[in-house]
Amino acid sequence: MGLRSFLHRLTAPRPQSRISVSSVKLVCVVNQGLKMGKGKLAAQVGHASVEAFLKTGVSHPQHVEAWLASGQKKICVKVPDDTAMNELLEQAIQRSIPALIVRDAGHTQIPRGSQTVLALGPFDEHALDLLTGDLKLL
């Protein structure tokens, strides 16, 4: 390989197809401050996952395709309260990680408008780990 092509290989932008199918995941960050029951929580995480994959499917279709093709990898972690969730949302936005917060309709268990789950992704696993790697699993 000539020096030129070697340099090109080092500096060329990564083609989109290099997004490996095993490296995309969805992180659901649960607001532990609300003390939701198991079923309520499952419904909220379900809600977050559907919203996230529909929304990110528009903004980052390749990530979502890779995510669907690789078994929809998903992890649930927790934060203590609204403040921690909002800080995480800010950081995600700064890092251009797709993010959305589920606000509950308030039919059961908790007040209307409560922030129940922050969904991050589906996105590059490494970028997500840098942001959420220290959070405890649900």
């Binding site: 079923g39 499952a42 419904a43 379900g46 996952s49 559907v50 929809q72 649900l138």
Partner: protein, 120 residues
């Protein structure tokens, strides 16, 4: 009677005998919800739209075991989108274990199918 009385509902039924953790239960239910969304968006556009427009109602219930799932599936009528989640088995359960039965349909049809089940 308001028009939302029969608005589409998604029921996510979790197998009680597996004793899944809270996080695992949530992840498996989310898996079912996403799969059903994918199918409904393609095959039952009106149902999907009506469900979304009415807030994407979801209920989480539990059934005793896999036989209880089979009985429910046998009763599923035309017009209901459903999916059985088979776990990849990375954590908690063996690969291929069916963990959650998810269904999306008109509220009254779903209620009839799950009226004997308790909420989680």
């Amino acid at each position: 009677m308001s028009s939302t009385d029969n608005a589409p509902t998604m029921a996510l039924i979790v197998r009680e005998d597996l004793n899944l953790s809270t996080g695992k239960t949530a992840a498996q239910c989310a898996h079912a919800a996403v799969e059903i969304t994918l199918v409904a968006r393609r095959q039952s556009k009106r149902l999907f739209q009506a469900w979304r427009e009415n807030g994407g109602r979801k209920i989480v219930l539990h059934a005793e075991n896999i036989e209880a799932f089979d009985e429910i599936v046998a009763d599923i009528a035309h017009g209901i989108v459903w999916h059985l989640v088979k776990d990849a088995g990375h954590t908690e359960v063996a690969p291929g274990t069916v963990t959650v039965l998810g269904m999306l349909g008109p509220r009254r049809s779903i209620d009839r199918l799950v009226e004997h089940l308790g909420t989680v």
